[in-house]
Symmetry: C2
Amino acid sequence: MMKAAMESTGSELAEGLARSGLRPTSQRSAVYDVLASSHDHPSAEEVFLRSRKVLRTISLATVYNCLETLVDCGLVRAVHRDRLPTRYCANRSEHAHFHAESGEVTDVPLSPEAVKYITALLPEGFAADSFELSYRGHAPRKTGSNI
Amino acid sequence: MMKAAMESTGSELAEGLARSGLRPTSQRSAVYDVLASSHDHPSAEEVFLRSRKVLRTISLATVYNCLETLVDCGLVRAVHRDRLPTRYCANRSEHAHFHAESGEVTDVPLSPEAVKYITALLPEGFAADSFELSYRGHAPRKTGSNI
DNA sequence: CTAGGTGCAAAAGGTTTGCGGTTAA
DNA sequence: TTAACCGCAAACCTTTTGCACCTAG
């Protein structure tokens, strides 16, 4: 196999972008790859630093632009916490976020039933396009998990 | 009865502040009163404009300081949505927020069972101090409700 | 060719902070 | 008296934007 195969297959990215009539540029690809291979919900700044290892000339503004594009295409999720820098994740499955006091952010998977339950909490007449659920608290003792 | 009675009784505010060893100044009182009598989740700027009707000399920075103080004391909740200006509410009962596309924010009450259910979604080992749930979507046709 | 993208630098905009002066216990 | 608090203005910091150049279809 080619080394290039280490990057995302590109199909998911290319297809997602194409759906909006956008091109999979090397910058978008680099940004997406960083997120797809990260489990720590990096900030734009952090994505910038990591993507620069691959694309040495990419600028922070371009990273912001790419992130916005990817979010708009539904390929990436923006994770907000108070006024702290926005963080990003490429986990597109339904999930909530647990914000530990340390700043660490962990995905909390949501079952289809949970999603249904939460959506059903809305009063008559309200129709949710989406919801965001985030917890704040103490994370369990650090596991020896990867990344 | 004195006209002053129109302001919040002050007891809730004074007690909440006292718990943190803080004084119920006229500025904090004005800010709190604005929120306690608003159901539309005003931004700091908006709180500033409204509180200035009562305290003509209050400054925006002081409003920000007061809001932060009140949030820290648990008397007021900060409501975030993406990177838009933070909004505030004095509704201390357990509730979620519905963000309509219009920018309108509506409280969504949460029953004790709902709170329990949502808290129970966390994986083993995680302990949540609190959670925040927000919906995005279309609000029902405007009711003739009061502010 | 030419519409869409990138990179840079500068602007924007909400929020915070430093500081001198004021106020309440 | 004195520690807490306010108002002002300037600083901060993340994010956005304008613009000239570049590049893929």
